[in-house]
């Protein structure tokens, strides 16, 4: 082998290595877990490849329509979950290549696009509809509000400063759906703050600082006037809805982040944590009443090999939880009632299931939607998006 050919060989090897490593790293593949919404008799699932909104008959899983914007994109698309209200369905759509973020309003029965408004950044959380206005948060830290009648953004949403620049409420992204109640908008943000805004003007009424980032919306217990919200510091916070002050004497800490929405039911509140536990707590002080771990509870408090991103769901007497690894379990007072039969082919579940009177609907990470009977977990139907059949 000559010197030149050796040099050429070494150069080619380095080049190959460079290309391989660049391919390994490169641009990160952006993903989110698929949205799942139940409104009336229709399931709205973000599914398929490329993803679009599938409208499914909740009774048998047949496709009643689809929605996908006309805009072509070659990059990744981020969809928010769908929200239905005021005779329209709303969904956030962001194309990674053009970074065009848009909130679409479409006909909830036919999937026909009605109108759209643009945002400045990724729309990841589901919008919230209240009194003719649809509110949504974006990754620029702004809360947007679109008037359904005028089909345009309301003045002051998002706030603009004197120089014409965005003056977002939060300093970090908003990944949690806003909550609207009693003329106020409550927003939990990644900047460790909960904001209360005037639902009409957008004026900030109060801000409340907590110890960690929040990606789940607050839950309001109206009779107590208290907002419950979990954070990435593992703590659950109780905040007075009127003033934004933390409720004195309330405290609960999980063994990992809390990413799910709190479920208030009767005289208890329920929350799941990435530590794999389902916790039943006293809403007055956060004291643990019971907890459920489907595997073995480690000394650290974590549930072995279990992660619960999806929130707990009320299934009329039992609480249903779905683990990241695809286990579905119905729990009553820390006792397991039923779970998915082992060996069922499943993909990860990160999306909180939705429940109707007698059925529970789950969307897997691969876009498959399954309907099960609440009483015993028996499978009623399965929807597999056409592209991944």
């Amino acid at each position: 082998m000559t010197q030149r050919s050796r040099m050429l060989g070494a150069a080619l090897l380095l080049l190959l290595l460079t290309i391989i490593l660049s391919a390994c790293g490169g641009t990160p593949v952006a993903q989110n877990w698929p949205g799942l919404t139940l409104a009336g008799d229709t399931i709205y699932a973000i599914s398929g490849s490329p993803q679009q909104v599938y409208m499914l008959d909740a009774g048998n899983g047949t496709i009643s329509g689809t929605f996908s914007p006309v805009a072509e994109t070659k990059g990744t698309i981020w969809w928010s979950p769908v929200t239905v209200g005021g005779g329209l369905a709303f969904v956030g759509h962001t194309a990674s290549d053009t970074e065009a973020a848009t909130l679409y309003a479409f006909d909830p029965e036919t999937g026909q696009e009605q109108w759209k408004v643009a945002a400045e950044s990724l729309i990841l959380p589901a919008p919230f509809y209240a009194d003719g206005v649809v509110y949504f948060g974006a990754s620029d830290g702004c809360v947007y509000a679109a008037d359904v009648e005028t089909k345009r953004l309301k003045p002051g949403w998002p706030p603009i400063d004197d120089t014409g620049e965005l003056a977002c409420q939060a300093q970090e992204a908003i990944w949690a759906t806003p909550l609207v109640a009693d003329g106020r908008v409550y927003v939990a943000a990644m900047d460790h703050h909960v904001y209360s805004l005037d639902a009409e003007t957008g004026e900030v009424l109060w801000t409340s600082q907590v110890g960690g980032a929040m990606a789940a919306p607050p839950t309001l217990v109206v009779e107590d006037g208290v907002l419950y919200v979990g954070a990435f510091d593992g703590q659950l916070y109780a905040i007075k809805a009127e003033s934004g002050e933390l409720v004195e004497g309330f405290g609960f800490e999980a063994s990992n982040w809390i990413w799910s929405k709190v479920l208030a039911l009767g005289d208890q509140i329920f929350v799941t944590s990435l530590d794999g536990n389902l916790y039943a707590l006293d809403p007055a002080n956060g004291a643990e009443i019971w907890s459920y771990c489907g595997t073995v509870k480690e000394d650290s408090g974590r549930c072995k090999d279990t992660v619960l991103r999806a929130g707990p769901v009320d299934a009329g007497g039992s609480i249903i939880i779905a683990t990241e690894s695809g286990e579905l379990t119905a729990v009553v007072d820390a006792v397991r009632q039923w779970n998915w039969p082992s060996g069922t082919p499943q993909a990860d579940i990160l999306t909180t299931p939705v429940v109707s009177e007698d059925m529970i609907y789950v969307i897997l990470m691969d876009g498959q939607v399954q309907a099960l009977e609440v009483e015993n977990g028996a499978q009623a139907w399965t929807f597999t998006p056409p592209e991944s059949k």
Binding site: L14, T18, C24, G26, E172
Partner: protein, 303 residues
Amino acid sequence: MAGITDIWTTFILQPMLNALLGLYSVLWAQFWLAIIAFTVVIRGLMTPLMLPQQRSAKKMQEIQPQLEELKKKYGKDRERMSQEQMKLYKEAGVNPMGGCLPMLVQFPIWIGLYQSIIQALGYQPLQILGLSGNIYPFLSSLWVQVPLNRYFLGMDLALTPQQLGGLTYALPVLVAFTSWIQSKMTTTGATGGDGQAAGMGQSMTMMMPLMFGFFSLNFATGLSFYFIISNIIGIITQGFISGWEGLLFWKDVNLGSLLPFGQKPAPSQAEASKQTQTEPARSQKGTQSGSKKRKKKKRRRKR
């Protein structure tokens, strides 16, 4: 496959990620400072591996005259030549493959650091979800740091120069430049000769910086910080070991050398005098044989 992923996560990704987060929490919540501190720590840990290589490079420079002697003596007998070379290397304590080990060790560090940066500075939920599982339970105090400050002078450290555009293209250039200086300082001796090692050395001096520049173009800008700081530390330590001549790069810059099949670069004064002393016969012969071949070709064409 899952086993390999678990091993990688446990032994590479998690330690690096937690170290970065720990540094971030004590360095005023500045991720770029955490990367710089992390680089210094890694270079410190790698000193036992790097120092012998750097000393070996210096010794390589010192034994160049002896190598030239060997070339003169055994130039035609390749086998004997390589035997004698190896003997000389052994006597001088030079390991010609010494540069490979630090390089091999650094590959997992680069990949691990890239993954750590992407996960720590994740801008979408799945990345951040992965982060929660990789922070050690006993470092739960780091949870409050999320989301991390991902900017340095307005530049997003998790994005690539291609995504950011503008002045960020200076980073791959800086990476390639510092890498070139470092390679040049390390291989000054090896490139001085005319043998196979010299050829390889020259090739590496050009290829490695280009490779790193290309990496930096396609990877998160945070990784460029690691490369630049690591190269600067390498330059400084090499300077203390074998002198600072390699830093005077403009003396030896010859654009012709950048062309792989172009004109052979004009040697520097020192090299030129060395070549005239050691290789007159060979170069003459080379010229003669070349002209003879050309004449033969001409004759064939005439026929």
